[in-house]
Each structure stands twice: as C-alpha cells, then as structure tokens.
C-alpha cells in the first residue's frame, strides 16, 4: 500500500472516513466465516460519488477493492483476500424513498435489513428476506450474497425482491439496471448482479419490493422422539403440496443448547423439533395448520403445540434465530455449513451427516431450513487446535460432497466466497467456468474487484492477485 494512495483517499473522503492503522484494520480481517484476510485500507463512503472516486483511485494505484456491509457473511465474501482497499458501506445507510402504494423502497446498501421492515410495518408491509442476522446485516450484503432466511420458503430469496440497482463498476463508472416497477426491457441484468458476491460491481442503491403481512399466521412447534420422524414429516408436508411460510428443524443437541440460553420452551428431552408457520387468509391458514398437525402426528410427533399469541410465537422464533449464539456457549468456535439438497433426500442426508461426524470425531448439530432442503450442520471446534480445525474442514467438505451426490448444490444462501470456491468443480464444468469467467471479465476485467472469490484459483479470472499470507487454510481442494 503506497502512502500516496492513503493521502489521496484522505483527500477524497476526509481522515474520519479512512482507517489505515494495523489495530484498526484488525477489526476488518474477519467476517462470520472461519476465514481471515486483512485489508490494507478501510474506507467509508457516504455517497455514490465517493464510491466511484474510491474505485478510480484504487484502479489508478492497481490495488484490489472489496465491498463490505456489516461483515456478518458466512463464506468470506466480504474479506480482502487480495488485500487492498475495503469499502465499508455502513455510512451509506439511508432509506431514500418509500413508495407504499406501489410497495417499493429505495435504499442505500448500508441499511440494516430489519430497518426496512421497521420503516414500513406501520402500513402492514415488510421486507421478506429474513436471514438470522437480519438485525445486523445490511441490504447491500444481502444483495451481493443473494441472502435467504427461514421465510424465503414461501416468499423467495433476495433476488425475488430486488427490482433495480445502481452500481459502480471497478473503473468508477456509475451504472443502473432494472426498473423500480414492473418487468425489465431486455436481459434480466438485476438477476445477474444479485448474488454475484461483489465480483461484478459495487452496489450503491437498491430498489426492493415490500410484501404485505398476511391476515393470519399460525406457528406450530412439533416435537419428535427421533430425527428420522421429524425429517419424514418434512418430506410428507412437501409431498402433500403444502408450502408453509417457514419449516425449520432443530435437532435435540442444538435445542438443548438453545433452551439453556433462551428459555423458549423447547422440550429438552426431545430428539428434534419442527418450527412450522403457515399464513394467508384465515380460512386457508387454519386448514393448512390442521393438515400439518395431522401429518406431524401421523409421523410420530410426540406433541404438536400451536403458539397461542404473538408472545409465544416471538419466543419460538427468538429461540431459532439466536441458536447460533447459543452454540457459542458450548465451544470456542463453531463452523456453520450451508448445503442444499432435494427435500425428498432429507432423511438419508441427516443420517449421513451423523456418520461423517462420527468418522471425524465431532458431534454435529443441525438447525436448518428443512422446508427448502437448506442444511446448516454445525461443527463445534477449537480454532487453537490446528489438527481439530483441519478435521472440521475435512468433515465439512465430505458433507458438501454428499449434498452434491444426492442432487443438491454447494450453497443455499451463504454464498461460495472463499469458503467453497475450490469445491465449485463438483458442480461446474470447464465450459461453465469459461462462460462465467467471460461474464466476470465483461464487468471486472482486471479482477480488481473482490479477487479470489467464487472461482477456483486454478480456474480463475486472469491474474488473481492473492497474497499468499492472506489466504487462509480454509477450503482448498
């Protein structure tokens, strides 16, 4: 990092918006993943013009750039794998426009996900994608990673809720894609950029759809004595053609940890619970809840509880959404995996995960979006024990490989990032990589934007400038 770039950044943004001392930079070398990489400079733009100026300066100095929201990502997407300038969008956090009659909001990337809902709930509206980190994570990060959450089962993931983007390309050019309302004319560029993990452009403004709250919501907790019967229930619900608003599973190992911490009312002696939610018109929701309850009982649920009021419902969800925090009490660190499988393969996959856990000497917990086949096995480990960490990585790889074997994919919502880029060849051929690379190069020709992500380093985009010391020991095939 040259001091002339530092001086130029300070001249552009002011000293308050530039971090360069090692002790400040240390805060930005982690995200929610097990990876680690330190930027050389952290900058805080306030406007799109700032972002464009930053990109131009970085390009002039041939330094890579990476965008970052709240840093809650779980695949290393917002880590500076190639060093360079990290653009933190925390100070671009304004809701620019609310169009309630047309159910649209125009927001800056640093707006916290849940703040959108907070701003519109008085009108009976909400922003549907609800990752567990929704009270901290930012919409810019959600768009980059195409984030999901429990309620995306019925509502769809981030890409289904974004209609237009303003972006800055690596050379500083400001571009717009999509339309605030209605269909686009031409290629669905918004569909390409959402979920491109910050490798094509820096997102500076987002138009999102707002959803209307359902008239009736019913939340059920089904309690099971075996994981097998819980997962069979999920298969039965899907096969019956019922799409709940959410269908979450937590195994006994996990729910005991959660219960000790949150006291949500999960029975400590059960083997698994399903947290199910149906919604819609009263008449529809009640019928669906009854059908689900019958299916749970038919599949050996010990008990099915229906939340009596909002308080009970909130408590159940609090237990679910804080589960990862609760696990922090059990081990120095945990590794949350993210794989996705056809829902019909759920029972056999959960079985296999347990076997893999045994093989590597870990108890593996499961807390996940069962309704859409999106698994989150959790491996508890001690990062100070290098051998144990390596075993955790090996177990993770084997689980993801199994997901692919049964017809699934590498990631349902966390993204590829630098966690799984070396596993990409499990799914994609050289021809697929060639095309993805050409698309990448069409917008990010020098790989200056978020280098070392998505693509396996061996099949990368031109010269990926990855400092060896900045490359963690994580996933390497």
């Amino acid at each position: 990092m040259t001091s002339s770039l530092l001086r130029a950044m300070i001249a552009l943004l002011g000293a308050d918006n530039v971090l360069h001392k090692t002790e400040d930079l240390l805060l930005y070398e982690f995200d929610g993943s097990v990876e680690k990489a330190r930027p050389d400079l952290v900058v805080f733009p306030h406007t799109t013009k700032d972002v464009s100026g930053i990109a131009k300066l970085a390009a002039k100095h041939h330094v890579p750039i990476v965008g970052r929201g709240a840093g809650t990502g779980l695949s290393g997407g917002a880590l500076a794998r190639g060093g360079g300038v990290m653009i933190v969008f925390a100070r671009m956090n304004r809701i620019l426009e609310l169009d309630l009659p047309n159910r649209r909001a125009v927001v800056q990337p640093g707006v916290v996900n849940f703040d959108i809902t907070r701003a519109v709930e008085h009108a009976g509206l909400f922003f549907a994608p609800d990752p567990s980190s929704q009270r901290a994570c930012t919409i810019g990060g959600n768009v980059a990673e195409n984030a999901g959450g429990p309620h995306t089962l019925a509502y769809g993931i981030t890409t289904n809720h974004v209609t237009a983007l303003e972006m800055v390309l690596p050379d500083g050019e400001v571009v717009r894609v999509g339309t605030n309302h209605g269909d686009v004319l031409g290629y669905d560029l918004c569909g390409l950029f959402v979920g491109s993990e910050g490798t094509l452009a820096l997102i500076t403004e987002i138009t999102v759809k707002l959803s209307r709250k359902a008239e009736a919501v019913k939340t059920l907790l089904a309690i099971f004595d075996t994981v097998e019967s819980a997962s069979q229930t999920v298969v039965a619900i899907t096969a019956q053609g019922i799409t709940p608003a959410a269908c979450e599973m937590m195994d006994g190992w996990t729910l005991r940890a959660v219960e000790d911490y949150i006291h949500a009312g999960f029975p400590r002696d059960s083997a698994a619970v399903l947290l199910l939610e149906v919604e819609g018109l009263r008449e529809g929701a009640e019928a669906q809840a009854a059908a689900i309850e019958a299916l749970c009982r038919k599949n050996q649920a010990r008990e099915v509880r229906v939340a009596k009021d909002d308080h009970e419902r909130d408590l159940l969800w609090k237990g679910r959404k804080n589960a990862f925090g609760a696990l922090g009490r059990l081990a120095p660190s945990n590794y949350v995996l993210d794989g996705v499988i056809p829902r019909s393969k759920l029972p056999q996959t959960l079985q296999r995960i347990q076997e893999i856990g045994k093989k590597y000497g870990f108890g593996i917990g499961n807390i996940f979006h069962a309704g859409d086949g999106n698994l989150h096995p959790i491996v508890l480990y001690d990062p100070r024990d290098t051998k144990q960490f390596e075993r955790a990585i090996a177990a993770a790889k084997e689980i993801i490989r199994y997901c692919v074997e049964v017809g699934g994919a590498l990631t349902g919502e966390h993204g590829v990032g630098m966690e799984k880029n070396e596993l990409m060849p499990l799914l994609f051929s050289d021809a697929d990589f060639d095309l993805m690379r050409r698309l990448h190069d069409a917008f990010n020709p020098d790989s200056s934007l978020n280098p070392g992500k998505i693509f396996p380093l061996s099949k990368g985009c031109g010269e990926i400038r990855v400092r060896r010391e900045a490359t963690p020991a994580g996933f390497r095939a």
């Binding site: 717009r176 004319l185 031409g186 899907t238 086949g373 799914l427 021809a431 060639d434």
Partner: protein, 460 residues
C-alpha cells in the same frame, strides 16, 4: 446464395441427413419476419445442438432456435439467419421429483404434454402463456411472454431454478441446479428469460413446481367508466386477498372476446354485454377461501360502483380465463392490420388509458386495452386496411406511443406489427441507459454474434 448452395451437404458431415431439411416449403415455415433460413436442423440431443452451433461458429453462420414458432415474430427482423434449430426432438423429462417438487425438462417439451405429467402428481407449472396448445417450455422462457398467473405465482424468474444451454462458442453450459434454494455461481439462467435465443440455445430447463389448487373461482364486474374499473382493481390489489389474476378489459376487448366465444358456441352472460369496462378476477384455494374471496370481490365491486357483477360458473370461467391467456394471439389478428404493444408502466390511471386511446383515434383508428397484473398493459391499435396509407398511419401511431410511454418512465415493446412496418420501426423503442451492460452480456455469451443477430434490444 453461397450460404444456401451446399449448406445441407456440409451439415451432413456433422449430423444425420434425416435431421437436416433444406426443402423450400419447409424453410418458409421457419421464416422470421420474412427472413428465410437456408437449412433447418432437428438435433436429437444437447450434444447435437452443440455440434451444430460449433459448425455455425466455424462458418460464421447465424442461428435461430425455435420450438413451436408461435411467438417468433417478437423482436426485430434478424440481420442474418442461416440455420434454424428446431428443438422439437428434445422432449425428455430428465427428472421429476414430485416429493421435492422439482422438474428438469428438455426445451422442446410442449407445455400441454408436460401439464399432463405434472397433473398426475397434483402439480403444475405456472407458465400459462399464449399459444399454450402448441408452445414448448423453451419457447415460453425464451419469448419472455406473460403468464396470466403472474399476479400470484410471479414470472419465470421466480420459479426457473436452473438451465442447460449451448453458448455461442458451441459449448454445453449450465447454471443453477435442481434444488429450490441455491446460490452457487452466477444466476445465468435468469438472463435466458426473454432473450429470444440471442444468448444461447436452451436445451434443458429446471423448475420448481407448484401444487394444484383444490378449487378455483372467477368473477366479472362491469363498470360505466375506466376510472371505476381501475379503482376496483386498486381496491382489490390492496385488499390482501390472493388473486391469481386481475385484469381490466376495455369495451373493445370485451366485444372481441364475446365474438370469438360466440363463434365457439359460448355466450357471454347477457348482463355483461354492455359497453362498459370490465374487471376479471380469478382465485383459488380451498372451498372456504374461494367462497370468502367471492364474497369480498362482490363487496369491492359494489363499493367501487359496478353496474353489474357476478361470480362465474366454472365452465364459462375456464373459457374466459383461456381467452385472456391467449390475448396476445387473438389481438394480433383482431383486424386486418394491428399494432400490438406490451407496455410496462409504474402506475396506470384513467388518463393514461384515455391518452393511449387518443393516440390511436387522432389517426382515426380503433384501439383495445387490457390491463394485466404488475403494471403490464396490452394495447392494440386496429386498422381495417392493409394498404400503404394504413401502414403510414400505424407507423405514426407507433412513434407517438413510444414517445408518450418514454415520458411516463415506462417502456413499450411492439409485439406485433405488419411485416413491412417491422423494417421501419424499432419494436423495442429507444435505446435505454443499460444497453451498454446488455451488450457486454451478449458479447460474453455469444462473442461472434451468431445467435439471432439483430433481433434483440438495441440491435443485439
């Protein structure tokens, strides 16, 4: 003519002769806006498609893929067109996991055939597109045409979960997967939706499927003015009730529909044979939900000043719903010369409808308007003549419609126009700010511009 000279013979080096057609009358059937290819190929596998594309690339020949060819006139006339790739031999269901509600199907599969397979498992794909009886799944995606179920089920981008296609370098590529939630790699399959074959030849598509509803309902209300009909629509949309479709029909639309239905032996309910504007609704669910929505719809229609309103008897609802699904098809042939626009506009008020009708009537032309969900408007300008003067009048209207919509922050596409006019009017309207981004995408997929050159937005 050098291309045509021995193209068939050269293709025979890579493909079985039975899969190659060069007979003139068959070639005519594959013409796009009057541009006739020199050969038709009927590949039997994705690998054969890739062979053909590699051949086209090496000889710098232009390729247009098609299914049932029902919507091939969407887009500009191609600048070049040498080989037609007929996908009708690709009809396999590669995978249907009813328990997972996911489907992987070849591009040439007819929607009607697929419907039967899915219905056997009480499931369906919400692609209710025009020319439904012949349309292939690949054509439905590639044309990007509206499904009448979009109010509830969204557009293809909401349920297409993966695709396989041959890119412009002749390689078989894929994007997405077969699972309902997946963020692995770039979502390239979304780019294929509505791309008119300009990015690749789609060989297989993966979808999430949906459960068939227990029962459904339909409702029709008529109003003295468009203002009342639009107020009814707004009130319905903000009611939170689950509608699969809400459409506003101008009196002209209603009279065209009545005439077509009558010729097929179905009469409109006499109370609705008025000159007014109509709002059509459809919805589904269990019996209690359908009953409740019917009652609420009646109340909303009454409150917004409906002259007449009634729940539709199932058989008639199916006929009318089917007609609305096919609107693109019959509006094209509603008079001797027709301009059919698909307009997307943030908000549609009575003045917008009046202004559009006015743009036609200043040239002494009739018009018909159909407002669909999500700010989509079908606007047909109807001319009784086909002569030069009629064409000139239509050309003038087209220019004024594009200019008007540009001012409304919306956009318009001319889906149908007399063939000659298509060489004089840009059916996509003026170039937009994101054109340069689209050009880069096209360049990445099809570096030599061999796929349907000139057909797409901005001449891509």
């Amino acid at each position: 003519m050098t291309v045509a000279a021995n193209l068939g013979a050269r293709l025979e080096r890579i493909l079985d002769a039975r899969r190659i057609v060069t007979a003139e009358e068959e070639l005519q059937a594959f013409a796009v806006d009057g541009v006739v290819p020199a050969a038709i190929v009927r590949p039997a596998s994705a690998e054969e498609v890739a062979e053909v594309v590699r051949f086209a690339q090496s000889e710098n020949l232009a390729v247009i893929p098609s299914g049932s060819r029902s919507k091939l006139e969407i887009g500009m006339p191609p600048l070049r067109y040498d080989i037609a790739i007929d996908t009708n031999q690709l009809q396999q269901i590669a995978h249907f996991d009813a328990g997972d509600m996911t489907l992987s199907v070849d591009a040439g599969m007819p929607l009607r055939t697929l419907e039967g397979t899915l219905a056997a498992k009480q499931q369906f794909l919400p692609l209710a597109v025009p020319c439904y009886e012949t349309s292939t799944v690949g054509g439905a995606i590639s044309s990007g045409i509206d499904s009448v179920l979009r109010q509830q089920y969204g557009t293809a981008r909401d349920f297409l979960i993966g695709a396989e296609f041959v890119d412009g370098t002749g390689k078989l590529c894929k994007s997405g997967g077969r699972v309902v939630k997946n963020v692995t790699g770039y979502d390239m399959h979304k780019l294929l939706i509505g791309s008119l074959g300009t990015l690749g030849v789609i060989t297989r598509l993966n979808f999430r499927t949906f459960p068939l509803a227990q029962t459904s309902g339909g409702y029709l209300a008529s109003f003295a003015s468009s203002e009342q009909a639009l107020a009814c629509r707004a009130s319905l949309e903000s009611s939170g009730l689950p509608f699969t479709n809400i459409e506003v029909l101008s009196p002209e639309i209603l009279s065209i529909i009545s005439a077509i239905l009558r010729s097929a032996g179905t009469e409109m309910p006499p109370t609705l044979e008025s000159q007014g504007w109509c709002v059509y609704l459809s919805y589904e669910g269990n019996l209690a939900v359908v009953q409740r929505v019917t009652n609420s719809a009646a109340n909303i229609a009454l409150a917004t000043g409906a002259a007449q309103s009634l729940p539709l008897e199932t058989q008639f609802d199916e006929s009318l719903g089917g007609m609305l699904r096919e609107a693109y098809e019959w509006l094209r042939w509603a008079s001797p010369s027709v301009l059919l626009f698909r307009i997307v506009q943030p908000q549609i008020g009575k003045d917008d409808l009046a202004e559009l009708a006015n743009l036609a009537s200043v040239s002494s032309l009739r018009s018909a308007l159909l407002v669909r969900a999500a700010g989509v408007l079908y606007f047909a300008v109807l001319s009784e003549a086909e002569d030069m003067a009629a064409q000139e009048a239509l050309e003038k209207v087209a220019a004024s419609v594009f200019a008007h919509i540009g001012k409304q922050q919306g956009h318009a596409t001319l889906l149908h126009a007399p063939e000659l006019l298509k060489f004089r009017v840009n059916v996509w309207g003026p170039k937009r700010v994101d054109f340069e981004m689209m050009r880069r995408v096209k360049q990445a997929f099809d570096p030599q511009a061999i796929f349907a050159p000139g057909r797409f937005v901005g001449g891509l």
